[in-house]
Symmetry: C2
């Protein structure tokens, strides 16, 4: 398939796909005229790239761990990198959960108060 079709299938812009190739995250076969052609597997590949971007990894980092995610060939060094990224994600989830709890506490108390027509109060932990 050509780049437009891949873009349509993945919901990623054509520009982004060319950017991924520039970053060596994605490869393509070139036709004699220079047009990019992709195998069906490219769809999954792009989705994987998007997922890792969404997890906050940079293109540089993704480039580092992509080979082993794709092939399963894992050197001890790659394993360390994977573990480091997993731990970073864990930490991020903890941070997000803490923030979520903080917002949720405000939502819970204030929506209750609003419903009851009472003045709003908020837990001391939020008072700054």
């Amino acid at each position: 398939m050509r780049i437009g079709e891949l873009a349509a299938k993945t919901g990623v812009s054509v520009r982004a796909l060319r950017y991924y190739e520039e970053q060596e995250l994605l490869v393509s076969q070139r036709s004699p005229s220079g047009q990019r052609h992709y195998a069906d597997a490219a769809v999954g590949r792009v989705e994987l790239i998007r997922q890792l971007y969404a997890a906050g990894l940079s293109s540089r980092t993704i480039l580092g761990i992509l080979p082993c995610v794709v092939t399963g060939e894992v050197t001890p060094e790659l394993l360390a990198r994977l573990t480091a990224e997993r731990d970073r994600i864990d930490e991020r989830v903890r941070d997000l959960s803490a923030t979520r709890a903080r917002l949720d506490a405000i939502i819970a108390t204030s929506s209750g108060s609003l419903a009851a027509g009472k003045p709003c109060e908020v837990p001391a932990s939020s008072a700054v």
Copy 2:
């Protein structure tokens, strides 16, 4: 306290603190000569700002919800905003957890294989 001390206490750069003020996230008393002075409460305030930034909110969004997080005064509109941001965080946590699981699966199988000296294999869900 002056800006350098606040920076030291919060681990945030002086430049960042001035940026927060520019974004109206943080206020300061000015001395006659124009120097910024902060109350002790500013430390907690800066930490709150950092937490919200870390949760992926923009300065614009933080500006929108800060008043109610601080004072607990919540209008229905603010409540909607809070809820929207909480839901965004939830979604983000789900995405991150999915990615984490994917990395973890690779880590688990490959580290086992490495220990056993066997060739590495990876779950089909990861093969792209």
